[in-house]
């Protein structure tokens, strides 16, 4: 077996040092009834690199590759061009095959990277601080709801109808066990977010309001009045950003006084990967840092006075606080955070703004073109790189038909909100720098043909 360096003479010599005669003697504590006498039955034995590669490649070929067809899916995962150097750098063995920097003297590479990542994320989200990453946006979102409960000592969270339905599902699952009361509803196919509904719902039991920006339908709204309304009732505003590139073009939630801003960082550096691994972003105001979940990297000095970095404030964490920890999270998304950080460094502010401008202009052009298809209406007034179309028929079968023709047209709201008739005709379309004018034309023409 090519990954196992011990030879049989090695094994024999080692058994003799240990003072036993066979490997079975090292498994004597396993009850006899549970000992397997050989490899697990009904499973194949080892295979060569070539054989495994053939098998995996055959499976990969059964998928439609986003980059090979006109592609318009978003809703929490976006296809952006990732510079070649990002994937090269994250495969440096010193990053790829290291672990949590428990020994900071020999982990400054990871630690400095995390410090840079935290700073980039905080600046992008407009928060004072950010942590060293969460699993993904959806888990960061419910961790934020839990954090708001701890800070306000209240248990009612009001979720915007524009919050990603999977994020809502995750929050609902967790609320069953934490006792949080969630105020939720599905969205309406209208141009405005439900800011007024949210403001009206805030009461003295409210721990937080959770609003996605841009929301699941691609809509954007000024969060300032909502933040003010939250703060007037001593509740927190949690903003959720699933498309961080948007923040190169629109004001950050932190600027609009959100208390906690979480996000999905997948857009930068990470790639689609059928949904994971992704990287959760988590930022907040300084005053709440001790209630944050997850790891934090901080600056310090070494015994010679040189600047260095360490994991810090770990008295919030499970390995110290055990059942009193702010979260049970341990391993997070280190390598995805690195990919995010490298991509952001390559972009810089100028590049991010340019990228965001290109995304936005492409989306505006596509929205105009697609809403010219007879029977198709654009729902949004404002949007960044994603918008919702209302088709004259149910969107889900249309998406399937288009997929059969080699066009991945977007996400039908029927997929995200099954059984909700009022949303069934909705199609959410995302446009990024990877989308060409030809792609848009192909979609528009095919849509027109199908709807005719």
């Amino acid at each position: 077996m090519r990954y196992l360096p011990l030879t049989q003479p090695d094994r024999d010599a080692m058994l003799s040092v240990i003072g036993v005669s066979s490997i079975d003697d090292l498994f004597v504590d396993v009850p006899e009834a549970a000992r397997l006498d050989g490899p697990v039955h009904d499973l194949p034995n080892h295979a060569s690199e070539l054989a495994v590669e053939r098998h995996m490649t055959a499976l990969a070929r059964q998928n439609t590759v986003a980059g090979e067809v006109p592609f318009f899916l978003g809703c929490g995962a976006y296809r952006h061009h990732v510079p070649a150097s990002v994937d090269h750098l994250i495969q440096r063995g010193e990053f790829l095959t290291a672990y949590t920097p428990y020994q900071p003297e020999i982990a400054q590479g990871t630690l400095q990277m995390l410090f840079e990542f935290q700073t980039q994320v905080a600046r992008l989200l407009g928060t004072d601080v950010a942590n060293a990453s969460m699993y993904d946006g959806s888990t960061a979102c419910w961790e934020a709801i839990g954090m708001a409960r701890r800070i306000t000592k209240r248990g009612k969270a009001i979720l915007s109808s524009g919050l990603h339905p999977h994020y809502v599902s995750v929050a609902k699952t967790m609320a069953k066990y934490t006792g949080d009361v969630l105020d939720t509803t599905s969205p309406w196919l209208v141009p405005e977010l439900d800011i007024d509904r949210l403001i009206a719902a805030i009461d003295d039991d409210t721990s937080c309001v959770v609003v996605q920006y841009p929301d699941i339908l691609g809509r954007i709204a000024d969060l300032t009045p909502l933040a003010d309304a939250c703060h007037a009732k001593k509740a927190l505003l949690i903003a959720v950003v699933t498309e961080p590139v948007a923040l190169g073009a629109i004001r950050s939630p932190g600027e609009m006084d959100a208390d906690i801003v979480v996000g999905e960082g997948q857009s930068l550096g990470v790639g689609l990967q059928f949904g994971g691994p992704y990287v959760g972003l988590f930022g907040c105001k300084d005053k709440y840092v001790r209630q944050m979940p997850g790891r934090l990297c901080g600056e310090t000095v070494d015994a010679n006075g040189k600047r260095g970095f360490v994991l810090t404030l770990s008295t919030r964490e499970q390995h110290i606080r055990r059942e009193k920890a702010t979260s049970n999270i341990c391993t997070n998304s280190g390598l995805c955070a690195l990919a995010f950080s490298i991509h952001m460094t390559l972009l810089g502010e100028a590049g991010l703004r340019a990228l965001a401008a290109t995304n936005h202009a492409g989306a505006v052009t596509a929205a105009e073109r697609l809403s010219q298809v007879p029977g198709v209406e654009l729902v949004n007034d404002g949007f960044f790189n994603e918008f919702t179309l209302k088709l004259p028929v149910e969107a889900r079968p249309v998406v399937r038909t288009l997929a059969d023709r080699g066009i991945l047209a977007g996400v039908s709201l029927g997929r995200l909100y099954p059984g909700e008739d009022a949303l069934a005709n909705g199609l959410v379309v995302a446009v990024t720098e990877t989308t060409t004018a030809e792609d848009v034309e192909t979609l528009a023409a095919a849509l027109q043909e199908i709807l005719a």
Binding site: M1, R11, V28, V30, A34, V40, H41, L43, V52, A60, Q62, N63, T64, G67, G76, S85, L89, R92, E94, T97, A98, Y99, Y102, E105, Q108, T110, V129, A132, Y135, T139, S169, V170, T173, Y177, L272, Q273, G275, G276, P277, V279, R295, G298, E299, T300, D302, T312, Q318, E323, N328, C330, G334, C336, L338, T345, E349, A363, V364, A367, N380, G382
Partner: protein
Amino acid sequence: MSINQSGWRPEMVAGSGNVPATSTGNTFTGNRALMLEEALIFEIGSTETTGVEVAAPVTTASKLGSLARTAPIGLPGLSEPETVRHYTRLSRQNYAIDLGLFPLGSCTMKHNPRLNEKMARLPGFADVHPLQPVDTVQGALAVINELAVWLIKLTGMHGVAMSPKAGAHGELCGILCIKAALEKRGEGHRKVVLVPESAHGTNPATAAFAGFQVEDIPATAEGRVDTAALKARLGPDVAAVMITNPNTCGLFERDLKEISDAVHEAGGYVYCDGANFNAIVGRVRPGDLGVDAMHINLHKTFSTPHGGGGPGSGPVVLSEALSPFGPLPFTERHGDGHITLVEEESVDDRHPDSFGRMVAFHGQMGMFTRALTYILSHGADGLRQVAEDAVLNANYVLRSLEDTLDAPFGGSGPCMHEALFSDANLADGFSTLDVAKGLIDEGYHPMTVYFPLVVHGAMLVEPTETESKAALDQFIGALRSVAERAKAGDTALKSAPHFAPRARLDETLAARKPVLTWKNPTPVAAAAE
């Protein structure tokens, strides 16, 4: 303008920005040959610089309204050559498996085969959107399904929940299944979860999150769960027992089946922390020990890279009793080979007991492709050999060093995949930390230290199966040498490491006055006002 200053900063050399290179160690740059300092991107980059060329936007009206960003963000950029150099320099300040033996107990730092990386990057896996119509992602669903089948068969369990994102998330999944099962039985009043003192911190944190009260179970003098004490505590208020097997002292819990039977008889469930599955894969199936739920860290046993702290992946295998409660989404393979995805819409009629969704999308697909590649490479025979070699290597370390270091459970029989030592026979004033830092100077990542908590000054050594005998012999020699120095009271150890990129770091300062983000220095003129 952006100039990579090679990490030089005036404060690096004492007193002056112009200290000449001397034979005593100071250099103009602060570098020492291949040991290269590197400044922060905020010190070397500029917001005007970019390493990415983006097509100019077509001219359109803006749909951003009043939300268009006007304020600066403060994100420095670097050109591509500067970026490559920055991160390459940073990488060289890290220890890694690729550089040497990484005996971090409980973390299973084994070799990461590069075939796994190559397969995960096939466009058919890497460039596929999670919400594509299921007919366009049959290969991706097949990977999930195939890996699920392997995990079920290797563990002898009934079902598996694939979506948890890491071990702790998997624990949460298992505990939520238990909670859902209890509620279904009308026994939601069972509030107590028993956790051994030696457990990972994630266990009590997870149980507490789900609203359970955590009670410790004591250990015996030989380092195993006190079965009699555990059985005595069982009763109508106990929801579950969380046991790590092999346990964090590196020992097989030989009473686990007996414990499981007792727990089941008392109406509870058995959660097994599978972080240490590497020691028994192919030799023992947890299902045969009466386990109801166990997470498997794909980044440990199945060698998906640790990545400097993730991403992990924590699928949870489930017993027949708990399988109906597993989370959404999951795959279903039909007779014709077609695979469908069970999500919210099909749950009510066919899977009414699912406790719900834990994550957006389908879990750590990129880790599934790597883990499946690893598993197919090893096969059933190779995986059994993995466990055997991992256990052999650990016992070799244990028996080679127990004359030098105190091995508190050395007399409890063979260890499994990790060898546990304590600080008991070090000289007065010398600690486990000193041994760890001394190992750094010898070119090793230290073992896990001060865990498990049940042993004073614990040193938990997990060599893994991907180390050769020669590599083990050198490590054993190094650890013996450092231990002898700590026993002899060699004060140089107290200030180790001496040869690392940094000396010991001031963690107290970091926590007392947290600096968690870079703050642009106040300009000199402004500060003077």
